[in-house]
Symmetry: none
Subunit: 401 residues, 2 copies
């Protein structure tokens, strides 16, 4: 779907759309023939909602493709993740709530260890503690580069973010991580002429960092990768005509939402119940609500089948609070699958339900992978869900006469 | 599907394909959990045909998009409606059976009311009667423009069609309707250099019309919009190698078919039975038959659930006459949904069946929205149906070695 096309169809309305994203929702049975995490969860409210919904399986990026969190979210947010790429540096900056400007070039940084000849001995500097990271980042913040604002921010352990701010900086830069030990980190090269100034600045930064860190073994050097600027991406207001709100406990998801012009609703606390309280409080101020549940993914990554099912049950218990608000459209889905069996993101399409007064309900009273596979939405690209939601919210006019 | 690619695969055959389009076929239950119009209709013949067919749900344009009649038909005719656009002026001209030439620029015209200062007081001239429209159109026909043929044709009430005929005229013109009252109609502007001559001609026409209509309150002015030429679109012969016939009672659908090079088969009478008589009479002369049923849509637009179901029953009663002719491929579907519940076109995908001797039948003995959602065609773009029909008619050869 081309946004220029869709934009022409958007009409104002008073309706409200809620998108619940359970991170890494899709799963697998532990034993062949068994149930998935979602199928084994006790979730009477989701099942009742499914009975009034159209069901399907959503491919976040494309069949067979395992998405990272960025592309996974872009898909269910209604964007083509193959068209809009979010660089690693940008994602890392979003993850620490750094407010990236439109021309900022962000990179993911690692502290690392080098020997007397400058050859890498540990690409992660022995996984130093975050406290030491903070101390070293303060050192790096003393670096001055000609005419450009420099930001260095601790992420966690051996990871930090570097941001250069100046109008017109290019982000087409090669990485300094050679991806193996026994060789020195690589110099940064400009991959197009517009990025030559950025390359010079970054190489100056690395050179000064090397001197500042010389006696700070094991963290006596840095590596930088994933140089990127914010993608030029239409906002929710531009693309869909929506005043959109984001409710998320983890910074990265708030950052992704901010990239799309969503406003962040403050969540007091960290539980799913706290997120629903934020939803209730923000209800009258927005047309669209993105509510993110992180812990399904964390449990999947940990291989904890039962805990993942339990997080789904926790969400289920809050669902009546949403339905009391009488939303016009509710989408429940995920940004990708994270089966506990695989302990990682996977390529499996994600079960999704679309509820509204005007949806052609499939009459399947179960929300689960196999139930959704029988649904009328079929197996669809995740990005197609937003036009369907807008249509059900009566926010799209007719195309053509 | 790219027509250049498909064309290379087309091979001659003696087989016959029939496409039955029930306008606005797709529906919704009136009450949650109830049946749709199609599901509640008594249609033993369609159900029996479904049992021998592959079933699916077709998206005329794209998920969530509500199509007008033009894009809806292009989709089920096998064309990408996002690639081939039919302008409002063209559709209006087709709707009165006007035989548009390839370079004709057509516009939809409204009679309107202006005050002494030329400001709009009624954009529809008090919805004047068609008889007065005919009289005023005769006045407008006296307008002569330098070197260009001018056609003015009554549509209905306050609506008319203007067509300018000259080689090389451009159609990139702004509209004169300001979409509100209290301001004067806008002059036409050329939106590209190729349309500057058209803009001058149209402005001359409007100026002369103003003088001719000066004392004809409430219809003392005109507005023009939807300037368009016929789209450059491959014909059924070019795209699919088919000698195609169109059987339709309403002019606009004959016009759409004519745009694609279909030949119009005369229908004596206006009923569905009359259309099947025309089908029988034309049977030996064509490879492909498009048979259009209008009244499903009209009933849906009127919010008349029972009447819509009854029109489907009327079609069902005629179906044996088609099957007696032993068609090789039959598609039954619609150009879009028009649920009586919504009283308008909608975005819901349209139930479709594809019958042939070689189809992989789903063995589902019901033609309805939920039955089709379980079918093996899944939820597919409507434009994919034509290649499937051609294949089943053994009119496509192998791709690649």
């Amino acid at each position: 779907m081309d946004f220029r096309f869709l934009k022409d169809l958007v009409v104002p309305a008073q309706t409200k759309i809620v998108l619940i994203v359970m991170d890494g929702l899709g799963g697998l049975p532990i034993e062949a023939g068994g149930k998935t995490e979602l199928e084994s969860a006790q979730k009477p409210n989701l099942d009742a909602l499914a009975a009034q919904s159209a069901l399907g399986l959503a491919d976040p990026v494309a069949p067979g493709i395992t998405p990272g969190s960025g592309p996974g979210h872009l898909g269910i947010f209604g964007y083509d993740p193959l068209r809009y790429e979010i660089g690693r540096g940008v994602l890392e900056a979003l993850g620490i709530d750094f407010d990236l400007g439109p021309d900022d070039v962000a990179a993911r940084g690692n502290f690392c260890s080098v020997d007397a000849n400058g050859n890498l001995t540990d690409r992660r500097a022995g996984r130093i503690a975050t406290e030491l990271n903070v101390e070293l980042v303060n050192l790096l913040r003393t670096i001055k580069l000609d005419g450009v604002q420099v930001f260095v921010e601790t992420v966690k352990d051996y990871r930090f973010v570097l941001v250069l701010r100046e109008d017109g900086l290019g982000d087409a830069l090669s990485e300094t991580d050679p991806q193996r030990i026994g060789v020195p980190p690589l110099p940064v090269r400009a991959l197009n002429p517009d990025s030559e100034r950025s390359a010079r600045l970054v190489n100056q930064f690395v050179e000064q960092a090397r001197k500042l860190l010389a006696d700070r073994q094991p963290a006596n050097m840095i590596m930088l990768r994933g140089f990127a600027k914010r993608p030029a991406i239409p906002s929710y207001a531009q693309a869909f005509g929506l005043r959109a709100a984001a409710i998320a406990v983890y910074p990265m998801y708030r950052g992704l939402a901010r990239l799309l012009g969503m406003q962040i609703v403050n969540v007091v606390g960290e539980t799913i119940a706290d997120e629903f309280t934020a939803l209730e409080q923000g209800w009258s101020d927005f047309d669209f609500f993105y509510l993110h549940v992180k812990k399904t993914d964390s449990a999947g990554e940990d291989g904890d089948f039962a805990r993942k099912a339990h997080v789904i049950e926790e969400l289920d218990a809050q669902l009546p609070r949403l339905m009391t608000l009488k939303p016009d459209v509710v989408i429940v889905g995920g940004d990708h699958s994270t089966p506990a069996l695989l302990k990682s993101h996977s390529w499996h399409p994600v079960p999704v339900l679309v509820y509204s007064q005007y949806v052609r309900a499939d009459g399947i009273a179960e929300y689960g992978e196999r139930a959704c596979a029988r649904g009328s939405l079929g197996c669809l690209p995740a990005k197609d869900l937003m036009p369907i939601a807008l249509a059900n919210a009566q926010r799209l006019t007719k195309f053509g006469a």
